[in-house]
Amino acid sequence: MQVTMKAVPSSISVVTKPSPLSPQTTTSSIKPKDLIPITAPATGFLRMIQQQPNTPNRRRVIGYIEECLHPTILEGMCVVCGERPTTTTTTIPNKYNSNTDSLKQQSRSIGHKANVNTGPNLTQVTVSGGITMTVSQQEGQCMAQWDANRLYRQQRLSLVLDLDHTLNNNTNNKTSAAGVRTIRLPLHEGTTDPLQLQQPSNHLHHQQQQWAQHYVKLRPHVNDLLRWIESTYEVSVYTAGTKHYAEEATMVLCRNLVGSNRDWDDIERLRYQVQVQLQMAYHHYQQQQQQIMINDTSRNNKTNTMDNTDDIGNNNVAAKNKRTNDQIQQQQLQQKEDDKEKEEEIMDMNDDDDDDNDDTKHKPVKKKPKKISFAPVSTVEQEHTNHHPDEENNNPITTTRTTTTSSYHHTKSDHNNMITKDDDEEEELERLQQELVQADELEQAARRLRQKLFGSRVYSRTDLGDLGQHVKSHKRIFPWLCFADINNAAGTDLSESKQGNNNTNNNKNPYNEQDQQLLWTRDILDRLHQQYYYHYSNQQCKTTTGGNGSTGNRNRRRTVPEILKQMRKTVLPNCTLVFSGLVPLHKQQSITAAASPNTTVRPPIVRYAQSLGAKTQDKVDETVTHNVAAKDGSEKATIARTIPGCLVVRPGWLMESYWSIRKANVQPYLMAQGPAAIPIKKDENDDDDDDDDDGFALELEDELLNG
C-alpha cells in the first residue's frame, strides 16, 4: 500500500525510539536534543516502504520522495503538489529567446522547432476557455511530442487559419453586396475575466445584452478549401477578434458549407412568421367556431319557434359565448406570446453555452411544429383539429360535430368561403413549417460540422486576456510548435489586379470576386501534405524491404518549413530577374550582394524573388529572362525589349508566383516582349545554310554575269 504524503521542507519533530545504549529510557526524560528532525530535501510526494530490505548498513531506507517537477502552474501554484515554486515568472518577453542546441536536436527528431520561453524553462500557454497557465519546458515538449505523434498517425498536419481577410470580410455598415451573411454580436463584450465567463451560473448579464448586426462576406472558394482540408489537416482558428465574433464567424462558415443560406436572424424571423401564421390560423378557427355556434343557436331558435326575446336572449348568450371565446382566445394568445418570450430568453441565455446545450434545451419544443389542419369537407359532417400532445400550451381541442341537413344548406356557402380561405392559410402554414424544419436541420448540421472541423480549437483575443501586445502572436496558444507561414503577408500589397481595374477604395476591393487566393492556398497545402507524407509510405516500404537508401535520411523527416522552402526554390529555377522602378536607389546596393546571408536586409521584392529560386541582378544583359518593372518605358525596360526571350512584366506576376508557389502565367502581367529567342536546331541550321548558300550563289552569279 502506498501512502502519499506531502513532504514539507520544514522540520518535523518526531519521537525516536530510545537506543538500548542510552540510559534514559523513560519518555518523560526525553530532551529536545534527542529528537532528530526529518527534513525533506525536495518538495514532492513521500512514499513509505512497508517491508524494509535487510541491509547490513544501519541506515535503512524507509521511503522515497518523488520530486514534483511542477509541470504546470496555475495562478502561481503547481497543479500537482499545490506548492508555489520560487522560480515562476509570468512576464512575456518582447523578443524571442534563442534555442539551446540540445533542444534543437530533440525538436528536429519530432519535426518541429521549439521556440519562445517566457522565463527560465517556463512557457505560458492559453488553453481553450481563455485560461492561461504556465508549463515547464519538459512538459511542453512532451505535449508537443504527443500531439505530433497523434497527427502523424492520422497522417494529418496542423493548420491555423485567421478569420478576417483570410476567410471572410466583415463590416458593421449595412451593405447591399450579394451573398452577405449577418451575424449578431453583443454591443458590449462584457466581462473578459475567464473565471467569470466559466461560471455556469453567471448568465444574468446576457439578458440585459444589446445586440448589433454585423455583415460578413465570405471570400471566394472558401468552401473548396474547407471541404477538402478536413481529411488532411487539423484546423484551428486564431483571430484577433472577440470570442463571440469567432464563434459566430465559424458558424457562418459552417452554414455555408452545409448549404444553408439562413443565418440565426433569418431562422428567428422564419420562426416568428410561423408563430404569426399559427396565431392567425387559430384566430380564424375560433371565428369559425363562433360562427358555427351562432348559426346553431339561431337554428335552434327557429326550430323551437322561440320568440324574439329568447332570440335576443340567445343572441345575448351567443354574444356572451363569443366574448368568453374571445377571452379564451386572448388568454391563449397571451400565453403563446409569453412562451415565445421565454424561449427567446432561454435562447439568449444559451447563446454562450455550448451549442449542444442550446439545441437540447429548445429543440424538443421546436422539433415538432404544430400542425393544424382543417380538413376540407364536402359535407359538414366533421371538423376536427389535430394537435401534437407535447406542444406548448394549446389545449387539445378535438371536436366533432354533426349538423342537421337544414343547417348544411344554410351554412354551406359561408362555410365554403371559409374553407378556401383556410386552405390558403393552411398551405402557407405548412410551407412555412416545412421551411422551418429544414432550416433547423441545416442549422444542426452546421453545428455538428463546426464541432467536427474546428472542435474547441477556436481562439480569440478574449481568450488571451491581454488585448494588446501579443495579440498577433500565436505562440501563446501553440508555444511549442513552430508554424511556417504560407501566407502571412501584412502591410503593402505589391500585386496589382490582373485587369488593372479602378478601385474606389485605396486598398484593394474587399469584395473582389476574382480572388483566387484560397484556391492557391489549397493547392499549396495539398502539395505540402503530399510531400510531407511521401516519406511516411516510403518508410513503410523501406522497413519491409530492408531499404538501400541512405540510412542518414531514412529516419529523419523533413519539417514543414523545410518543405515549403524547397517548394519555393523550385518555382523559378532558371530565371534571372532585373527590377525596374521597384527598389529605391539607396537600397540597390544590397541586391547584388544579397547572395550571402550576412549582408544588409534585402528589399522585400528581392527577397521574394530569391526565395523562389530566381537570380537577381541589376544590369540588363543577355542572361536576363524577366524584367519586373513598375511601369513601361524605363531605361531597363527599353533595353530588355531588345533581348531575345526576355519578358517585361508587372510585379503582380512575381507576387502571384510567390503566393501560389507556382510559376504564374505571364500573359495577364505582360507589358512587352523581346524578340523570340531563336532556338538552335540542326535542321534549321541546315536550312539556313542552304538558304545562305543559295543566296550567295545567286549574288555571285549576278556579279559574274554583270561583271
Binding site: K6, V79, C81, L195
Partner: protein, 179 residues
C-alpha cells in the same frame, strides 16, 4: 466545505438612506455587498444567515463625505476548500492539460498528472474529453467527479483549488446529461 462563522464588515451608508428603516437598509446593503464575495481567509460567502440587531452599533460619521460607517457583525455561511477534503464537483471544461470542475463558485483544476495512470494519455481532442485506456471512464463536460483538494490559492477575488482523482474511490461518479 461549508461552515458557519461570525464575521465583521463595515458598511458605508449615504445620508439618503437614513430614516426609520435604517437597520433593515443596512442589512440589505450588507447582503448585497458580501454575498458572493470571496474572502481570502474564509472562502466564499454563500449566505448571510443572521444579523443580530444589537450587533449593528452606532455608526461613525465621516467628516469629508458625510457618509456614516457602520461596523456590523453577522453570521455567514461560508464555502471553503480544505486541504485533503473530498468533494463532488461538476466538470465544466476539459483541455489538454487537465480539466476544470466547479463546486458552486469554487473552481478546481485537476491536472493530467493527478489522474490515474491509465488516463494520463487519454486526452481526446475530437470529443474534448479524458478517456481511460480501457475506454470505460470518459470524463467530459457535465460529468460529476469526486476529487480530493490538494491546494488552493486566492487571486483576483477568486478562489482556485487544485484537485486529484488519483486515489482510490475518486474519479468519475456520474455520466452527466451530455456525457
Amino acid at each position: 466545505m461549508f461552515y458557519v462563522k461570525s464575521l465583521k464588515h463595515e458598511i458605508v451608508a449615504q445620508p439618503a438612506l437614513f430614516g426609520p428603516k435604517l437597520k433593515s437598509t443596512i442589512v440589505r446593503l450588507l447582503k448585497e455587498e458580501v454575498e458572493g464575495l470571496a474572502l481570502a481567509e474564509y472562502g466564499y460567502v454563500v449566505n448571510v444567515i443572521e444579523v443580530p440587531e444589537h450587533e449593528i452599533k452606532s455608526g461613525i460619521i465621516e467628516y469629508d463625505t458625510g457618509d456614516v460607517v457602520f461596523s456590523v457583525k453577522y453570521t455567514a455561511l461560508l464555502l471553503r476548500p480544505f486541504i485533503n477534503e473530498v468533494l463532488d464537483a461538476v466538470v465544466h471544461q476539459c483541455n489538454t492539460l487537465g480539466f476544470f470542475a466547479f463546486v458552486g463558485p469554487l473552481r478546481i483544476f485537476v491536472s493530467k498528472h493527478s489522474m490515474p495512470e491509465d488516463m494520463l494519455n487519454g486526452w481526446n481532442p475530437d470529443k474534448d474529453s479524458w478517456i481511460s485506456d480501457d475506454k470505460e471512464v470518459v470524463i467530459s463536460s457535465g460529468c460529476g467527479v469526486r476529487l480530493r483538494i490538494k491546494g488552493r490559492t486566492v487571486e483576483q477575488g477568486n478562489i482556485t483549488a487544485i484537485g486529484t482523482i488519483k486515489d482510490s474511490y475518486l474519479g468519475l461518479m456520474d455520466e452527466g446529461e451530455e456525457g
